[in-house]
């Protein structure tokens, strides 16, 4: 019997209509866990490097996490992976809600979609019954209407539906896949649109079995109460109305303008009233007691849900207040656009117009008020009309498609918009995370080690004493010795980056949410899941023997594999580059040293490719072989003999 896993993948070819239920290899759980880990393995094996994102051969994989549909609390995030058309590399994307667990109950660990449908369709999965159905009546409809129409016509009120809105149908690169009030951005939206797949509806009535049921259930019941009561879990922005952090520190408009003393008590009172006077509920995701999703009924718009920083991006692009964003979000949800990238692409358009790069000929009838302008451009983008057809590709592409615009784009890494953070002095850990991360959002990389030191030694000691999440003593020592943000050794920087990243790789493969795990530990240290308990939990759910070191090894393997997918798609050291103005004061010499040290720490070459020895060490020999065969990896790179030869060469001054 398979424990925790369903043991089957659902393979759907939209071009031919072929549907298969394929038993999976149980060994993959031991090597990659599940979720994004296994999705990456499938993408490596089956999406060849010459595959264009908008090609029949690109796969879209919706993967349930290894621990979905077990009693593990706060475990519900579905990994959706593909080659992201905006970045051209592995698309890291995930969403909360109920989709992954329902998929497991239907008897599948993942849905693998290839091909393109000849016309708009949706996929209906009820256990073994799987149908590709006509979706022409759903064209242009938002997630609310799509979900209820599908549930009605299938007579499946408990079906979980994930779908795209008009933006996805029009292959807007910043479109997202929507599911309830959760969404998966960074790739799946436009890919669904390209595959003419409007929605996926899943209903499952099967069992998921647990290896050690009694122990796991009792542990989870205790953890549920603890998570519910804990301030260290969930989105604190759902309850703390002081959002001075984002407004005083993040940049407004096209990520340029900081307003340092923006926040005030009077403003906070007003915004708090707007929120609570119009809030229906704070909703949660599957099997999580937290209410991170603020559900708002704002007059004149459709009801919407948002979490965290999602309430800030539109008004910060438009230099407005919270009521402006509240007025927008119902429509944005309905169209299905990502609220991180989209407002930035819009703000770039406004800046280009203000600087005469775009003119009235390019944007006829362009309003004067910045709020009206954002709405105007959003509508153009979603419909891909006029200038919107260009901005729909995101800031990086738009700035390369509009003559004279390139120098105005300044906030992307690997062709994707980043959080609009513009700071003073270089922060070594953030340099490494932003530069080398390939998840396209710092929130998907940072999270376990605190962002800042605690000045007061007594408070620092107190923090460290109850820091249960720290996997090894070295991290506690590191924190005890940390006085100033930018003064931290290169060695420590690599180690903490590794820990931060590893926790996210756990979440992406098990389905845990960052708000109870990878992202949240940095704020207060009291988080539900860490290297100190996840191995036991995986053991209880699956029966697999695994310890802390074993789990770290899997994270390392998954990390290397994602890097190799991207190496094969052309990514190199030169792409590991934060926005030029992320810090006002840069330190090129230190930055090069940091990159060298990090690559070395990871077992990667100087050009940011995992070495043959590293890949063999983590059991990815077949990946090494292919990279060598393709001429991407030098088999001798990073070997002791080569390092010695290099040192010799440097000593003699070269030829």
């Amino acid at each position: 019997m398979r424990y925790a896993e369903a043991g089957y993948n659902l393979e759907v070819d939209l071009s031919t209509g072929n549907i298969e239920r394929v038993e999976t290899d149980p060994k993959l759980m031991e090597t990659h866990l599940g979720g994004q880990g296994v999705n990456a393995k499938i993408i490596w094996d089956r999406v060849k490097p010459d595959t264009k994102p908008f090609s029949e051969d690109n796969l879209l994989i919706l993967g349930a996490g290894l621990l979905h549909a077990t009693p593990v609390v706060g475990c519900n995030r579905t990994s959706v992976n593909t080659i992201n058309p905006m970045t051209g590399i592995f698309g890291h994307s995930c969403m909360g809600g109920h989709f992954g667990p329902e998929l497991k109950y239907a008897g599948y660990d993942r849905i693998i979609i290839r091909g393109k449908a000849p016309k708009l369709v949706y996929l209906y999965v009820h256990n073994e019954r799987v149908e590709i159905r006509d979706a022409s009546h759903l064209a242009g409809k938002g997630p609310g209407e799509t979900t209820s129409l599908i549930r009605e016509e299938l007579n499946e009120p408990f079906a979980q539906v994930a779908c795209i809105g008009l933006a996805g149908e029009n292959k807007v690169l910043t479109a997202s896949l929507e599911h309830g009030y959760s969404s998966a951005s960074r790739g799946p939206g436009p890919i669904m649109g390209d595959k003419k797949l409007k929605a996926i509806a899943v209903r499952g009535t099967k069992d998921i079995n647990i290896a050690h049921p009694q122990e796991l259930f009792e542990l989870c019941l205790k953890m549920k109460k603890w998570i519910n009561d804990s301030d260290g879990c969930g989105d604190w922005m759902a309850v703390d109305e002081d959002d001075s952090f984002h407004h005083n520190n993040f940049a407004w408009g096209n990520s340029r303008t900081r307003i340092k003393n923006y926040w005030s008590e009077e403003l906070q009172d007003r915004w708090t009233r707007w929120k609570y006077d119009n809030m229906d509920r704070q909703a949660g995701c599957y099997n999580c007691p937290k209410g991170c999703i603020n559900v708002i009924s704002w007059p004149g718009t459709k009801r919407f849900g948002y979490k965290c920083y999602g309430k800030d991006t539109y008004h910060m692009a438009a230099f407005k207040e919270l009521d402006y964003t509240y007025g927008m979000l119902g429509q944005c949800l309905d169209w299905g656009v990502d609220s991180y990238s989209t407002p930035q692409a819009i703000a770039l358009g406004i800046e280009l117009y203000d600087n005469g790069v775009l003119t009235d000929q390019d944007i006829p009838n362009f309003p004067t008020d910045p709020g009206d302008r954002v709405k105007f451009l959003l509508e153009k983008i979603v419909h891909r009309e006029g200038i919107g057809d260009i901005l729909a590709n995101g800031s990086w592409w738009a700035s390369r498609m509009i003559p004279g615009a390139e120098s105005f784009e300044h906030n992307t890494v690997k062709k994707m918009e980043q959080l609009p953070i513009k700071l003073g002095k270089l922060n070594p850990a953030y340099y490494l995370m932003i530069a080398t991360g390939e998840k396209m959002a710092i929130t998907q990389i940072e999270g376990s080690f605190p962002q800042d030191p605690i000045r007061d030694p007594v408070k620092r000691k107190e923090f460290v004493d109850k820091w249960d999440a720290a996997p090894y003593q070295k991290f506690k020592d590191m924190f005890m010795n940390w006085e100033k943000r930018d003064q931290i050794s290169i060695e420590d920087t690599c180690a903490l980056t590794d820990w931060n990243e590893a926790m996210h790789y756990i979440d992406d493969s098990t389905g845990l949410c960052g708000f109870v795990s990878s992202f949240r530990g940095q704020f207060g240290g009291q988080v539900a899941y860490s290297f100190n308990n996840v191995p036991d939990i995986i053991h209880l759910a699956t029966g697999m023997e695994i310890d802390k070191e074993g789990l770290w090894e899997i994270c390392r393997r998954n990390r290397d594999l994602v890097r190799c997918i991207n190496n094969r798609l052309g990514m190199r050291r030169v792409d590991d580059d934060p926005p030029k103005d992320h810090w006002a004061v840069r330190n090129p010499e230190l930055e090069e040293k940091l990159l060298d040290a990090y690559y070395d720490f990871r077992g990667w070459t100087k050009d940011a490719i995992p070495t043959k020895a590293e890949l063999q060490r983590v059991g990815l020999d077949y990946v090494a072989d292919e990279l060598i065969q393709l001429g991407i990896l030098d088999p001798n790179e990073g070997t002791p003999a080569q390092e010695a030869a290099k040192a010799e060469e440097q000593k003699s001054g070269g030829c």
Binding site: V73, Y105, F158, T205, S297
Partner: protein
């Protein structure tokens, strides 16, 4: 007329405003009633379901209560605080009108037993949000002889309703003769 007697009535109180839609109650219920206990998760076997429509902000946990062999015509719609609810949103009846509260494999009805062996029903234990709370109320009511059906009886009754006495008896005889 029977005599008035005091009785303890156990029930689960639902505070709709506290439901965050996590469906932890469904998970706990299905796990508790699995054999062996907790060995499998499957909300479709749960005797409590959250009737949920996020876009309508509808979150209603309902428990399987009485078995009805016929579904009602109930398609009335109620508007409460601007939100529309179907009659079924609040109805715990195990009825053929909808898929809820039938075991997905056997098709037999599933009824809430308030997890009699536990200090509190498992769904309540799995709801730290406080949407579900366990209550024991003292009520005074007329004494009547009540036959409480156990799980097998409930299943048998459903089979009788569906196939009739003769067919059930014939099948029982045939199967028991086969050994």
């Amino acid at each position: 007329m029977g005599e008035k007697v005091k009785k303890i009535v156990k029930t689960i109180r639902v505070d709709l405003d506290k439901c965050n839609g996590c469906r932890g109650c469904e998970i706990a219920c299905s796990a508790y009633h699995a054999t062996p206990k907790y060995s499998a998760m499957n909300p479709s076997r749960s005797r409590i379901r959250v009737v949920m429509d996020q876009f309508n902000d509808e979150y209603v946990p309902i428990r399987a209560t009485d078995y009805a062999k016929a579904g009602c015509d109930g398609r009335r719609v109620y508007t409460i605080k601007g939100k529309k609810y179907s009659e079924c949103s609040f109805c715990g009846t195990i009825c053929p009108t909808r898929e809820m509260f039938f075991d997905p494999d056997s098709g037999l009805p599933l009824q809430c037993d308030l997890c009699a062996d536990e200090k509190e029903p498992l769904c309540v234990q799995a709801c730290p949000q406080g949407c579900l709370t366990f209550e024991e109320l003292e009520v005074e009511e007329e004494e009547k002889v009540e036959v409480k059906m156990d799980e097998m009886e409930l299943g048998m009754k459903a089979l009788l309703d569906k196939f009739g006495v003769q067919k059930i008896a014939d099948t029982f005889n045939r199967l028991s003769q086969k050994g």
